[in-house]
């Protein structure tokens, strides 16, 4: 709902808002420029003194005005010829033309009304309203994505396609909301929707009839400071009934032109003060710095508009249509989807297609549309549920849990729940788990035990598909094809081979940096910016499904390096390990912000085995600051697969690596890296007490063993791996 409230005003008003904000940003410069160039009055200068100075220079002066930025303008008549100038208050002389800046006028008319009169003003007012809606809805969306209002400026954990959109929005939204609200108020005032009452005092009917008072002797003028002045109007020459009119920040009053006595005064009404403050907040006149800041924030809007449209397009492309979706009432298999980003729909589509091909009638719908009464012929239910943020319900599953709880009797048809999530987030598949538990509590029969898919792995999905097929008694092969991102051509520069004698040859492959366009470098996309710990997605020949490898180098190192082990039945690893220098592969960068050493000098404890040393070596290589790094590395045989052996020893000499402990699994005394960890338990505990950060990279089994070992090591300290994980001091890159 909020998303729709953000998407549609954004798409519809984007063009209008770009014009509005660009013109507004340009206009924001003028108050500051005027402030800087206008000769300012010295502090304490009274209106009387200023007026006398001007009158001396221009005896026919009619009107003296002071703009909010302090610029003094005088208008006079000499022998019937009108004259005007910007005045230097120190001398009373004219120093520049008083004509309005033509560029500023043009921009103002564009900004206010698109040169279209009242209709144009209304259009711009609607634009401001749209901007306000966008600011509010956008803020809610950002808070949701970041995981709460307090985490507004937290670095975004998942790589978003709309990252630029969010980054700019987070900074600019406050200014945009303020500008749009003040704009709406000003529009309301222009169209007389506000109860503004005029504060002009009644013109005095009785004056002294004398003329020719000396300005310097008028008390009120002597007491009023130029800093408060807005306008001083002189009486019409020859008209004894006319008076001086003085307008200040406080109000308006009349002065007798013969005696100088005050003939009437009204203060500014509250509404007028409010309107003027709002005018100042919007235009920056009288608050030049604020105006500039707001103008800068407004400059973000064109980028927001363009990136917003791109995000929308990308979203539409990624959501597949489900052809031949059976009606809810007729289908035998009901597939309910809880998706936030749309990717789970893709899996649903694959499942739908495979089941339909196997002769099933399948209906796919959102979880929020769940209603057992609608599914009269259902023989089984399948729920595919993603999790959003910190275990919340995704967009299309709103209200499902409540409805489930409120069910009197659960459907007779059994249920299978499949959760989609990311293990690097806390509360992995939290929502799906809650759904499964609730269903179980309600007594719903489970067709399959609760299962999860980590990071949308097609292999996991296929595995689950086979289990589902078994339960249904059909042959089910789920070949899910996620959208493949754009790839670059990577040329192999060198390779180092290990483990040739064993069945599992491993190679460290070094590719040259691909050529980047200027735009890519400017926006920092893809290969323009990557670090060890990020992932390289390789798309092998003959397959659309990419395989991910952890990067062992930074962009700054000047090459793209990964460690690849030949898998017995792996298509991608086979192709990669057969590359010769000069051959090419297609790849793209996938950021992995969760697995980085981070800034600072806190010690690092790096634990890895086999190919898991890749990113760890990258961290050590780029450790120019010589922060203490303690590496635990498990290998099979030091002669064969001591990856980075020479490099590690060099880095140790250079001071990039403090200490290396190895574990050899195929030796007389086999030991695994978790054993070595235990051996060095005292040292590890000391480092952790000193604020060390633990990074583990390798297979699932190794990671589990390391966690156990750490639990033991941390016990005397009163800590647990879970506690460290919550703090962000224990991160894993596990596969």
């Amino acid at each position: 709902m909020i998303r729709a409230l953000h998407r549609w005003p954004g798409l519809l008003a984007a063009a209008l808002l770009i014009v509005l904000t660009l013109s507004g940003a340009a206009l924001s410069v003028f108050p500051a420029a005027e402030r800087l160039t206008a000769p300012q009055a010295e502090t304490g200068l009274s209106v009387a003194t200023l007026a006398t100075r001007i009158q001396t220079a221009y005896p026919g002066v009619e009107q003296i005005r002071r703009s909010p930025s302090g610029q003094i303008t005088a208008y006079w008549f000499v022998d019937g010829t009108p004259g005007a100038a910007v005045i230097d208050p120190a001398t009373g002389q004219g120093v520049g033309s008083a004509d309005p800046n033509q560029v500023e006028r043009w921009l103002t008319n564009l900004h206010r009304s698109l040169f279209l009169g009242d209709g144009g003003r209304i259009a711009m007012a609607l634009g401001a309203a749209a901007m306000l809606i966008l600011s509010v809805s956008g803020s809610v969306l950002v808070a949701r994505r970041a995981g709460g209002w307090r985490r507004w400026f937290a670095p975004l954990r998942s790589p978003l396609s709309g990252r630029l959109h969010v980054e700019i929005a987070r900074v600019a939204v406050l200014g945009l909301a303020l500008s749009s609200m003040t704009a709406l108020w000003m529009s309301a005032s222009t169209f007389d929707l506000l109860p503004i009452t005029s504060s002009a005092p009644v013109f005095p009917t009785e004056v002294s009839g004398e003329i020719g008072v000396s300005i310097a002797s008028i008390d009120l003028l002597g007491q009023t400071l130029v800093a408060e002045l807005r306008e001083l109007n002189f009486p019409y020459p020859g008209d004894a009934t006319d008076v001086f009119t003085l307008k200040t920040d406080q109000g308006t009053g009349y002065l007798d032109q013969g005696t100088g006595a005050a003939l009437g005064w009204t203060d500014l009404t509250g509404w007028e003060l409010v309107l003027e403050t709002i005018y100042m907040l919007h235009t920056g006149q009288g608050a030049a710095l604020l105006g500039l800041v707001l103008g800068l924030m407004a400059l973000g809007v064109p980028v927001l508009g363009v990136t917003g449209v791109l995000v929308w397009l990308a979203g539409r492309r990624s959501r597949p249509r489900i052809p031949e979706n059976q009606q809810a009432a007729k289908a035998e298999t009901i597939l309910l989807v809880g998706s936030e980003g749309g990717s789970t729909w893709g899996f649903a589509a694959t499942l739908h297609q495979a089941l339909s091909a196997a002769g099933q009638t399948v209906h796919v719908g959102p979880m929020s549309g769940f209603d057992p009464a609608r599914h009269a012929k259902a023989q089984r239910f399948v729920i595919l549920a993603a999790t959003y943020g910190d275990g919340d319900a995704p967009e299309t599953a709103k209200g499902f849990l409540d409805r489930l709880k409120a069910l009197g009797t659960v459907p007779a048809a059994p249920l299978a729940v499949l959760g989609f999530g990311d293990r690097s987030y806390p509360d992995y598949c939290g929502y799906a788990q809650r759904v499964a538990e609730m269903a179980d509590t309600q007594g719903w029969n489970m067709l399959l035990p609760f299962d999860t898919i980590d990071r949308q792995s097609p292999q996991d999905f296929a595995r689950w598909g086979r289990l589902l097929g078994q339960a249904l008694g059909i042959d089910l092969e789920l070949a899910h094809q996620p959208i493949v991102p754009a790839t670059e051509m990577l040329t192999l520069v060198s390779r180092r081979d290990y483990g040739a004698e064993m069945q599992a040859p491993t190679a460290i492959l070094r590719f040259a940096l691909p050529h980047l366009t200027f735009w890519q470098k400017l926006t920092g996309q893809g290969f323009a910016r990557f670090e060890a710990g990020d992932l390289l997605g390789i798309v092998p020949e003959g397959s659309a499904i990419p395989r991910l490898y952890s990067l062992a180098s930074d962009r700054r190192d000047g090459f793209v390096e990964i460690v690849v082990k030949r898998q017995p039945s792996g298509l991608c690893s086979a192709q990669l390990t057969q590359l010769a220098p000069g051959d090419t592969a297609k790849g793209y960068i996938r950021r992995n912000p969760g697995f980085k050493p981070g800034k600072g000098r806190a010690p690092l404890i790096l634990i890895g085995a086999g190919t898991g040393i890749g990113p760890l070596a990258g961290f050590i290589r780029s450790n120019k600051g010589h922060r203490p790094i303690h590496l635990f590395f498990g290998m099979r045989h030091p002669q064969n697969d001591f990856l980075y052996g020479q490099d590690l020893s060099d880095w140790q000499t250079e001071g990039r690596l403090t200490r290396l402990d190895t574990a050899v699994s195929r030796a007389a005394n086999p030991s695994y890296v978790q054993d070595t960890l235990r051996d060095e338990g005292v040292e590890v505990a000391r480092l952790i007490k000193g604020g060390a950060r633990i990074m583990v990279c390798g297979g699932r089994g190794m990671a589990a063993g390391v966690t156990d070992a750490l639990a033991d090591i941390l016990k005397p300290l009163g800590l647990t791996p879970q506690a460290l994980r919550a703090e962000g001091r224990y991160v894993e890159d596990v596969y």
Partner: protein, 156 residues
Amino acid sequence: MKSLLATLALTTALTLPGLAMARPVTLTTTMNNYGGDGAYLALYVTDAAGAYAGSLWMAGGKSKYYEHLSDWYRATAGDTAQINGITGASVGAGRTLEITLDLADTLFDAGYTLHIDAAVEDMRDSPNEVTVPLTTDGAGTPVTGRRYVADFTYDM
């Protein structure tokens, strides 16, 4: 029937003189290129003693700007009832405003003076921009304004 005819004759007799006592007058105002936004103009009439007699036209629709037409504003205190039904758009620089009004004959050759107050956003306020006595001889003679009006003519 007879009474109806009599009533008809009576009302005709009463209205005919009314019709004969007014004539269409065209007021033409040409603005110079003063380099600013549309000008607000107040056309009004003062009697032989100099007292405000009534408004003829207001070019400019937003009443919050009327205070810049200071002489008119002083005389009317900004009362918009004075210009009900005789308001139009503001006049841009270099443009010409031509208004044809049905004005009473008593307005001419009786010492009445027509005034135009003018004001432009962010530029000077020009009360008494144009002052011209209303006479049958003066019809068709252009008069120059002080700052914004290039010439003003009234034709009968």
